[in-house]
């Protein structure tokens, strides 16, 4: 408890002056706090407004269905949409099982030192800059396949380094709040531990686990930097993560901005359209995650 230390600081803080002065200070500080809050929100609204305003002109049927292959200064983002789906799916396929199993280890098994080490290193992992995760995947594959290698799979490995700690943290949180009485009731019926976890603990936490995974996907779906060094830039549709370069929407937006070609404004329009699509994906994932949690969570009394 903090009480004694806090009481001391309470006593140590001099408060004085006339009442009108204290009330005036109170009012000034309130105004300052509200003003700071409004200032902090301005960038958010400006950003959302600009992305919608500048993104809409570039959105078209063509944008979603064609690739820039063989089209000079034109084409759409179909290759980037395919790339986003494939890279994200492979990343999730790697990260979700490992993340949830590790979270089960942390909450259900008495690991002692290994558990403390894991908790600590998951913290370390959450702080890895995304570009460093990309360099790691590059270094890993470059040692075995030479420095020219660029694969969708490399991007997925890089993104997994970023996604696994997020999945572990959120899964651990929801597994922890599954009441012990449920586990004990299951044990009392003679159910072995693994069946208790699979049939009792995981179903109870299911909505929370799904929510956590969706939020984790929303975090990595728009990553750019790690993919720049692992999946490269490409302009044809490639849905095979084990062969050839690949591109997601974020890298597409970046390369349309970076190398606009002859029709500059058209390129910028496509960059903004990709940005708008990305924001829409991220928002839908976040809202859907909230909906799943509210609608399907197990009531724990």
């Amino acid at each position: 408890m903090q009480a004694s230390a806090e009481t001391q600081s309470l006593l140590a803080t001099p408060v004085g002056g006339r009442l009108w002065r204290r009330k005036a200070i109170n009012r000034v500080m309130t105004v300052l706090i509200v003003a700071a809050f409004v200032i902090a929100l301005i960038p958010l609204f400006s950003l959302l407004y600009q992305v919608v305003k500048r993104g809409l002109p570039g959105l078209s049927w063509e944008f979603f269905t064609t690739s820039p292959r063989g089209v000079i200064g034109g084409g759409g983002a179909a290759h980037a949409i395919v790339g986003t789906i494939v890279i994200t799916a492979v990343t999730a396929a790697i990260s979700v099982p490992i993340g949830i199993l590790a979270a089960i280890y942390l909450t259900e098994y008495d690991g002692g030192r290994l558990r403390r080490a894991l908790t600590f290193f998951v913290d370390v992992m959450t702080g890895i800059p995304s570009i460093v995760a990309g360099l790691f995947a590059f270094a890993l594959f470059a040692i075995f396949f030479g420095p020219g290698i660029r694969l969708g799979l490399m991007g997925a490995v890089a993104l997994s380094v970023l996604m696994i700690p997020i999945v572990i943290r959120s899964s651990e949180e929801v597994l922890k709040i599954v009441p012990n009485q449920l586990r004990e009731a299951s044990y009392a019926l003679g159910t072995p531990k693994w069946r208790t976890i699979v049939k009792v603990v995981l179903p109870t936490a299911f909505a929370g686990l799904v929510t956590g995974v969706m939020i984790a996907i929303a975090r990595i779906v728009g990553e750019t930097a790690p993919l720049l060094v692992t999946t490269g830039v490409v302009d044809s549709i490639n849905s095979n993560p084990f062969e050839g370069r690949m591109q997601n929407l974020a890298v597409y937006a970046y390369s349309e901005y970076r190398t606009p070609g002859v029709m500059k404004q058209a390129s910028y329009d496509r960059a903004w359209a990709a940005a708008l699509t990305l924001i829409a994906i991220v928002m839908i994932l976040n809202l859907a995650a909230r909906f799943v949690y509210r609608r399907y969570r197990t009531e724990i009394r």
Partner: protein, 311 residues
Amino acid sequence: MNATGVSPLAAAGPRRRWGDRIFSNLVLTAAIAILALLAGVAFFLLIESLPAVGASPAELPEGKSLVDYIAPLAFGTVLAATIAVVIAVPLAIAVALFISHLAPRRIVLALGFLVDLLAAIPSIIYGLWGIFVLGPAAVPVMQWLEENLGFIPFFEGPASATGRTMLVAGLVLTVMILPIVSAVAREVFSQTPRKLQEGALALGATRWEMIRMTVLPFGRSSIISGAMLGLGRALGETMAVTIILSVSGIVTFNLISQANPSTIAANIALDFPESSGLAVNTLIASGLVLFAITLVTNLAARSIVARQNIQ
């Protein structure tokens, strides 16, 4: 934490124990895989940066030694992140206080969602917003700073006409780390013991005096650790800086001119796609330095939180 100490296996037959053994080995493998992955990150980065460490300056990009190559980048990285933290922390405290203590209860949930949304926006979009919207908008402000505050080294000028400056990059980083810092602060502010807050109010304190005497002291260490987490994020942020900053590899505190030091992350993103041979190893070595800097920052943040928990 839970009933793991009790062994439900004691009475179970050998057939059941089989399933248990397989399952516990499975989760143990996942746990060890994560430790191996992290060890792999450090190991492979080290292996791939070794060639650059052993090389002579003439073989490296720009003909500089490895230290001379990375030092200006490290300076730029720390400068940009420092600007972001200095501006973001006071704002984040205000945002957290507003949500935890001032806002009407009904809109608190919606506000929390808004701030979370800010954290979920991909960095590439912040970069585009910075170069197309904030940069041009900041040009007149930077000209004003040069004319009126030019005697301060930060605003020495000549002011950039494009807005691709360290100040704008720092401001975009501010917007990006604000939700992280304020989320940490908000969490702890709302846990301030009720009895302290009500005690202060009962003694006749105004709401601000109550906040100053109970909420802020209670949340002090979490503000520090939130700031460190934000710093860690700002140090490693890549795309926004890559897009916004016009770089020239110099070391300067001048925040509003066309010539800026680059950051480690932005330099990697800019140069990596066109690099080959030792240049790649050099970039990976700089990435290792970035990894070390963020690691130290994050560990410092964690240790502050841990110390608070022990108290």
